[in-house]
Amino acid sequence: MLVFVAFALFAFGLLGVIVRRNVLIMLMCMELMLNGVNLSLVSFAQQTASAAGAVLVFLIFVVATAEIAIAIPIVLLLVRRKHVMDLDAYADLKG
């Protein structure tokens, strides 16, 4: 039943990315989505008793670290230019 907890975590993260306005909070909600996926991987690895799930969780850790290492400088650059963290202010960033 931990899979359903994982689903709920993923769903909360997805909802946060969609409905919140602050860029940093959206980034943190993405981390929450990754955490939900990790929990589902661990519970599936427990059910099938295979080490592959645990290895995949480790790889997701690294991906999350790399994601934050890229995303924070981008947010720093954006905020330095406009001094707002509201994502609606960057709606002109298309094309």
């Binding site: 907890v5 909360f12 997805l14 919140r20 427990q46 080490a51 480790f58 890229i70 707002v84």
Partner: protein, 167 residues
């Protein structure tokens, strides 16, 4: 007793995740996320996946969230996202999410494998995990190091672009 603790940790992770949606200040959201991650580390430890629990605390809470907290302190910008927490996608987002969850739960309910016997804890002990990791998955390990180098180079490149634009 262990089952009770497991559900206690899972429940606190869910509560912290729900708090992340409604709290206003980014620092409080970061603290809620840290609480969620620590509860998940407790869940992993109770499931006998100690390696993952340690990495959860070390990498996620120790590295990623500290970096995030630094960014929040660096960018203490008070703007419209403080007074209005939610974007105009609030209602469509909730509706789409309910649909997504219904489809997912429907699929999961049919496809969920029957819970097998209690998983062997020895498979996830540090020694066995490390041997399996470096014997069978060494290629992934090396690819991960390449990914990290690429991320560092990209972060430096992003900062370089910003410096050039600003003079």
């Amino acid at each position: 007793m262990e089952t009770l603790l497991l559900w206690l940790f899972a429940g606190s992770a869910l509560i912290a995740a729900a708090l992340m949606l409604v709290l206003r200040h980014p620092m409080r959201v970061a603290l809620a996320l840290i609480a969620c991650m620590l509860s998940l580390a407790g869940v992993y430890a109770l499931l006998d996946v100690h390696v993952i629990a340690v990495f959860q605390v070390l990498i996620y809470v120790g590295a990623v969230m500290v970096f995030m907290v630094y960014a929040i302190m660096l960018l203490d910008v008070r703007d419209g996202s403080f007074t209005r927490r939610f974007s105009r996608l609030l209602l469509p987002g909730i509706a789409g999410l309910a649909l997504f969850l219904a489809i997912l739960a429907h699929g999961l309910w049919r496809a969920l494998p029957a819970p097998s016997a209690a998983a062997s804890g020895s498979l996830f002990a540090l020694k066995d995990f490390s041997i399996a990791f470096l014997a069978d998955y060494w290629l992934h390990f090396e690819l991960v190091s390449i990914l990290l180098v690429a991320a560092i180079v990209a972060a430096l490149a992003v900062l370089q672009i910003g410096r050039r634009k600003h003079g």
